[in-house]
């Protein structure tokens, strides 16, 4: 009972701090808007109505939250293992490419819908995993910063996809009018889950991923190894954990989950692959993961919040002309404040780590 109370108290404290971090981010963003000559209250109001004002708006919010949630979980896995996967954007596109290629392969076949969908998503998972494993390998074999390598790999993947789908490119639609792939067949599309809206089964998949990540991290040895490596790689190594292997597999898993998000996006939302499939989900999801405190339940809620922010800010740009990139500013601010406050909150733990000579890379 006493233990329960301590856990509850600790969670309340971190929830409060998260809330304060959000308020701070909103306040600073207000100043930024005032400097540009906009009315922040009007902006926030427009974001909220844009995100919840109608049935379609709500569906749109959930739709935007789906990739953010899956990628946020991907990033949480990596960050738990102290692998800073900043390249989820590239892994997302790798997955989207995997799903699109796989669908092309099954385009003419008469396989049952769920098999096609399953195979496409598996391909997406594998493609993302490969793209995530490379920075993991460079980190464990050469000690190269995974932040830099994963960012570079993102640029490479974006250019590669752009080459593939450019008008007349290798996998572009055959008429050669648009820089995108042909629309996927009906049997490969994810079913809708809410009548008369575009909300599809991807959202359910996202919730499943959250459950799977929770089970993995809390109930399996692999998850334990990831967390041990993240907390203190030196003592994990003394404890007999193969740090290099854990880093590679953690990054691969993280990339694979981000790739799955790309697959879900192609099969559920866009039905084709093109540049601009992601308006920066891979980066936004970093804020999602940290705001959710790398906890699957927390990430579900923070993804919904950012889904709302993305949907609402697009609406805001259309109705009152404030640039939608305000959402990006807000996300960066949230990131800064959340990280800052979490250091203050976990002072004792971090102090202990420093006393052991740990670094803050």
């Amino acid at each position: 009972m006493k233990k329960m109370r301590i856990i509850l108290k600790k969670n309340m404290k971190s929830l409060m701090l998260t809330f304060i971090a959000l308020i701070c981010a909103l306040l600073v963003a207000s100043v930024i808007m005032v400097l540009a000559g906009y009315n922040p209250l009007q902006a926030y109001q427009s974001i909220v109505t844009g995100a919840f004002g109608s049935r379609n708006a709500i569906a749109q919010t959930f739709l935007k939250a789906t990739p953010l949630m899956i990628i946020g979980l991907a990033i949480a896995v990596a960050f738990k293992g102290s692998a800073f996967n900043i390249g989820a954007e590239g892994q997302f596109y790798a997955g989207a490419l995997g799903a699109a290629l796989s669908e092309m392969y099954f385009h003419e076949t008469a396989l049952p819908s769920f098999i096609i969908i399953f195979l496409c998503l598996v391909t997406a998972f594998v493609f993302g995993g490969i793209w995530g494993a490379i920075p993991g390998y460079l980190r464990s074999a050469r000690g190269a910063s995974e932040v830099v390598t994963s960012v570079m790999l993102t640029s490479v993947m974006l250019l590669f996809v752009r080459y593939l789908v450019t008008q007349g490119g290798p996998i572009a639609e055959p008429r050669g009018f648009y820089p995108e792939t042909q629309e996927i067949v009906e049997s490969a599309r994810l079913p809708y889950i809410w009548e008369n809206t575009r909300l599809h089964a991807g959202f359910i998949i996202a919730l499943f991923v959250a459950l799977a990540v929770y089970l993995l991290m809390e109930k399996t040895t692999w998850g334990y190894k990831i967390k041990a490596t993240g907390l203190n790689s030196l003592s994990a190594e003394y404890g007999g954990i193969n740090i290099g292997l854990v880093t590679v597999t953690t990054m691969a898993l993280s990339g694979a989950i981000a790739g799955l998000a790309g697959g879900v996006e192609v099969l559920g939302t866009s039905w084709k692959l093109y540049m601009g499939l992601s308006p920066g989900y891979g980066y936004n999801a970093i804020a999602v993961a940290l705001l959710g405190r790398l906890n699957p339940v927390g990430i579900i809620f923070s993804a919904l919040l950012f889904g709302m922010l993305n949907t609402g800010s697009n609406q805001m740009a259309r109705s009152i002309g404030i640039p939608s990139t305000l959402a990006a500013v807000l996300q960066a601010l949230v990131l800064l404040f959340v990280v800052g406050f979490s250091v203050l909150e976990n002072k004792e733990i971090i102090l202990k780590k420093w006393k052991r000579g740990g670094n803050n890379e």
């Binding site: 540009a36 800073f84 050469r142 190269a144 830099v148 640039p323 960066a332 420093w354």
Partner: protein, 314 residues
């Protein structure tokens, strides 16, 4: 193939190499100040973007290129001040704060650019820095053409390479900064103001790297494009490691990048038949190879070690 090896091809290529290397050089030289003092320079990309935007906006409003460089430096210092405060004083993880800084810079510059100039496909442009020939040096055959018929910021980057080398190798203050990076606790015992030195070094990083950003929008081009730094900041981070944390080494690394960029442009110009997307990939793949070769390099001993007065390592 024969036209590869004529002066008419090689001279402009080498001249372009220097021109294209300069943003990398300025960013890497800036980054060396914080790396030497033991603070990771993973936030460079964000400073570049910030400098590119504020520099461009200043020229747009005032038509003064030098004022623009100053404003860019100031904005770089302000932005990196957040990073310095959170990493050096609070002890946050530099990878996280660095990423946040990059995202913040990207969001802010896009937000203000769209607020001021609108969302149109036509770029607003300004009159950029012009090339001028340095007296005497500029008239040396070949070398003069390659090195001394460039714009003013290129010359500033040369001076900074030398000055930074001199500072860290030959001055007492430079030695103090290095010892803070090598072993902050020992430096503290010797009575050095560790936190203050680290803060100042990171702020210098911000001011120099911001010139690299401004170079992109007011020297090599005449307009600001969203996210125009195109990962040059991250490349600079890799170059510093490749150059073993030495200004001269980093400068050589930057020349390599400049050459790759220039070659890509020139090959396109003479119509080599490779899709342009693959050409654009080159610097990124190049960085991956660099990271593979250099690995984590020879970091200063105390790199990314947090220091706080009274904190004793047990």
């Amino acid at each position: 193939m024969s036209n590869f090896f004529t002066w008419a091809f090689i001279l402009p290529l080498l001249q372009a190499t220097i021109r294209m290397a300069t943003p990398y050089t300025l960013a890497a030289i800036g980054g060396i100040y914080s790396d030497k003092a033991g603070v990771s320079s993973i936030e460079l990309e964000g400073i570049l973007l910030m400098g590119a935007f504020t520099g461009f906006a200043t020229v747009y409003y005032t038509n003064s290129l030098w004022l623009a460089v100053l404003v860019a430096m100031l904005s770089g210092v302000l932005l990196v001040g957040i990073y310095a405060f959170m990493v050096v004083m609070l002890g946050c993880k530099s990878a996280l704060i660095g990423t946040a800084i990059v995202l913040l810079a990207s969001g802010l510059t896009n937000f203000y650019y769209r607020s001021i100039f609108g969302v149109s496909s036509e770029y607003t442009s300004i009159i950029p820095f012009k090339n001028f020939t340095v007296p005497i040096l500029g008239h040396i055959p070949v070398i003069g053409k390659i090195f001394f018929q460039q714009n003013a910021l290129v010359y500033i980057s040369f001076i900074l390479v030398f000055a930074t080398w001199y500072f860290f190798e030959k001055t007492a203050l430079g030695l103090e900064c290095r010892s803070v990076g090598e072993n902050p606790f020992a430096a503290d015992t010797l009575g050095l103001p560790v936190v203050r030195l680290r803060m100042i070094n990171v702020l210098i990083t911000g001011s120099i790297a911001a010139i690299a950003g401004a170079y992109l929008s007011i020297a090599t081009s005449s307009s600001f494009v969203e996210n125009m730094s195109a990962e040059k900041g991250y490349a600079a981070f890799a170059i510093i490691i490749l150059g073993r944390y030495s200004p001269i080494g980093a400068f050589l690394g930057c020349l390599l990048y400049g050459f790759a960029d220039a070659l890509q442009l020139n090959l396109q110009a003479i119509g080599i038949n490779v899709p342009y997307q693959f050409m654009l990939m080159m610097p990124y793949i190049f960085t991956l190879i660099v990271m593979f070769i250099a690995g984590k390099g020879e970091k200063p001993e105390g790199h990314s070690k947090f220091f706080k007065k009274g904190l004793q390592i047990t």
